[in-house]
């Protein structure tokens, strides 16, 4: 077992087989730096719980193909990314920090999928981004592919 500590001082025990999916922690263990508790100053407990849930489920990912659990895992992944934007960004940052490649891919793909066919206005509103492009700059981007921009079918809903 490996102990992880979130930045709000909560400790979690995780099986080594699960936690070594994180390249960062795997390296720490191999270098003998993981003797007691591993502090994770960038990750809060709420996010860490999500990450551990993922790691535990994917513990035997290599074997999933043999045992026919691929569908099960796929369903889990779909459910797993069913979270709000802020939470998703928290998990992306944690996955990046811990260097968990598969989790990073899963969450970035989910983010990209949510942006599909969305209007720029809707994206800004959903993510509370203030537009800092000038009108000229925005027009320049659109001019790169005028056929690709917006149109009547664009999804302008904010969810």
């Amino acid at each position: 077992m490996v102990k992880l500590k979130s930045n709000d001082d909560k400790e979690f025990e995780v099986e080594e087989a699960a936690v070594i999916q994180s390249e960062m922690i795997k390296n720490m263990i191999e270098d003998g730096c993981a003797t007691s508790v591993i502090p994770l100053p960038n990750i809060d407990s709420k996010t860490l719980i999500k990450v551990i849930e993922y790691l535990n489920k994917h513990i035997n990912m290599g074997k999933a193909a043999e045992t026919g659990e691929e569908d099960d895992l796929k369903e889990f992944d779909e459910q797993f990314v069913n979270m709000g934007w802020e939470e998703l960004f928290d998990v992306i940052m944690a996955a990046n920090y811990l260097n968990i490649h598969e989790l990073m891919e899963l969450c970035c793909q989910s983010a990209a999928d949510r942006l599909k066919n969305k209007s720029v206005r809707a994206v800004r509103e959903m993510l509370k981004i203030t537009n800092d492009l000038t009108e000229e700059e925005e027009q320049e981007i659109i001019n790169d592919a005028p056929w690709a921009f917006e149109g009547p079918e664009i999804d302008d809903t904010v969810n």
């Binding site: 990073m104 983010a111 993510l127 800092d132 592919a145 690709a148």
Partner: protein, 375 residues
């Protein structure tokens, strides 16, 4: 809680990396400065499949119109290089021909890059012909690879000059190279697939041949007859054939139309049939009843491609999108050309319009052109 504004640039770039549709990538860049900076062209997978745009009929001005099936809108693109020229779509590129001067080019409609080809006169000379230029003599053209991505490609041309001829050009070749092999009938479709060009005649014969890339002195492998149809279906007067690559297989697509001499009516497609082609054995396999999630696009110069409909907005699975390609030379029939364009449901055989809101005059001689990201 992470606000999006706190997301470091490299993670925004990582997300941008997963945006595979050009329309979405452009919108991504237009969100704010940090997203624009993060989403560079290097972060876009140029090999990701896109939905072809419908290039609408040529008008006599410096603009071309493109209709997006996903966005359901028409865009006017400044493209004086295509003005007054015959255009054959080749994926992202157009093969253009100036009938008066015989000037031939490859033209990229979105970057306006041109690749100059030896002229029509040179093409005729490769066969030893000295005749004055033949108006509208080019039947089909095909590329072995995308010139935007590699300079190692072959351009194949099928043209008519008294009889049916084939020639090719590769980057750095000064002249067209004539392929000294008589194929009796003009091509309905020429496609490149895994090292070979496949050539389907209007009789349904399938020929295959290889052309090596640049710097190879003896480039041609003799064309060989791969498949000869025995049944009568190919004798039908209004059938078109296409070869389409789908999920690592080659499909042989047949399009049936009713035809009347009435110039107001012309051809009207009523059915498609899809068969799998075994290129090793040279035979047609059983009929393909469903394309699954895929959609197929066929039209002028075959222009055939397939996409996974689930990845795109507004594209229907198991449908065949077709444009009017019964006559490539529609200059005399402006009212008719473009009429036989629509989308065919392979499950129930129903045909719908692709663009109900567009008037016919605007779609005269429409073709499929692959979009690409220019930044």
């Amino acid at each position: 809680m992470a606000d999006c504004a706190e997301l470091p640039d490299d993670l925004i770039a990582h997300i941008a990396n997963h945006v595979k549709v050009i329309e979405d990538f452009i919108a991504f860049r237009a969100v704010c400065t940090s997203w624009q900076i993060a989403a560079t062209k290097d972060n876009f997978d140029v090999f990701s499949t896109q939905v072809p745009l419908l290039m609408l009929g040529a008008k006599d001005d410096d603009f071309q119109e493109f209709y997006s099936l996903s966005k359901k809108k028409v865009s006017h693109i400044f493209l004086p290089e295509a003005r007054g020229r015959e255009c054959f779509p080749l994926g992202e590129w157009l093969f253009t021909m100036e009938d008066n001067t015989g000037e031939l080019n490859l033209l990229h409609p979105f970057s306006r890059t041109q690749i100059q080809l030896p002229s029509l006169e040179d093409l005729m000379a490769s066969k030893g012909l000295r005749e004055k230029l033949f108006l509208s003599c080019v039947e089909k053209v095909a590329l072995s690879a995308n010139p935007s991505i590699t300079s190692d490609y072959v351009l194949m041309i099928n043209y008519h000059a008294g009889s049916n001829h084939l020639a090719f050009w590769r980057p750095r070749d000064l002249h067209w190279t004539y392929i000294n092999k008589e194929i009796p009938d003009a091509a309905m479709s020429i496609n490149y697939y895994k090292g070979h060009f496949y050539y389907v005649t209007c009789e349904g014969e399938l020929w295959s041949f290889e052309v090596a890339g640049p710097n190879t002195p003896k480039p041609i492998v003799e064309p060989g007859l791969l498949y000869w149809p025995e049944d009568g279906i190919f004798g039908h007067c209004s059938v078109q054939f296409y070869i389409v690559e789908l999920s690592d297989a080659l499909l042989f697509v047949m399009r049936y139309a009713n035809y009347t001499d009435d110039p107001e009516a012309g051809h009207k497609t009523f059915k498609f049939k899809v068969l799998e082609l075994d290129v090793i054995k040279g035979e047609l396999k059983e009929e393909v009843k469903t394309l699954g999630d895929s959609a197929i696009f066929v039209g002028l110069n075959s222009g055939a491609c397939s996409v996974d409909s689930s990845k795109f907005t507004g594209i229907k699975p198991n449908h065949i999108y077709f444009t009017d390609d019964w006559f490539q030379k529609l200059y005399f029939m402006e009212d008719v050309g473009g009429k036989d364009t629509g989308v065919y449901n392979l499950e129930n055989g129903k045909i719908e319009s692709i663009y109900p809101e567009l008037s016919l005059s605007r779609i005269y001689q429409p073709t499929w052109v692959m979009p690409s990201l220019i930044m």
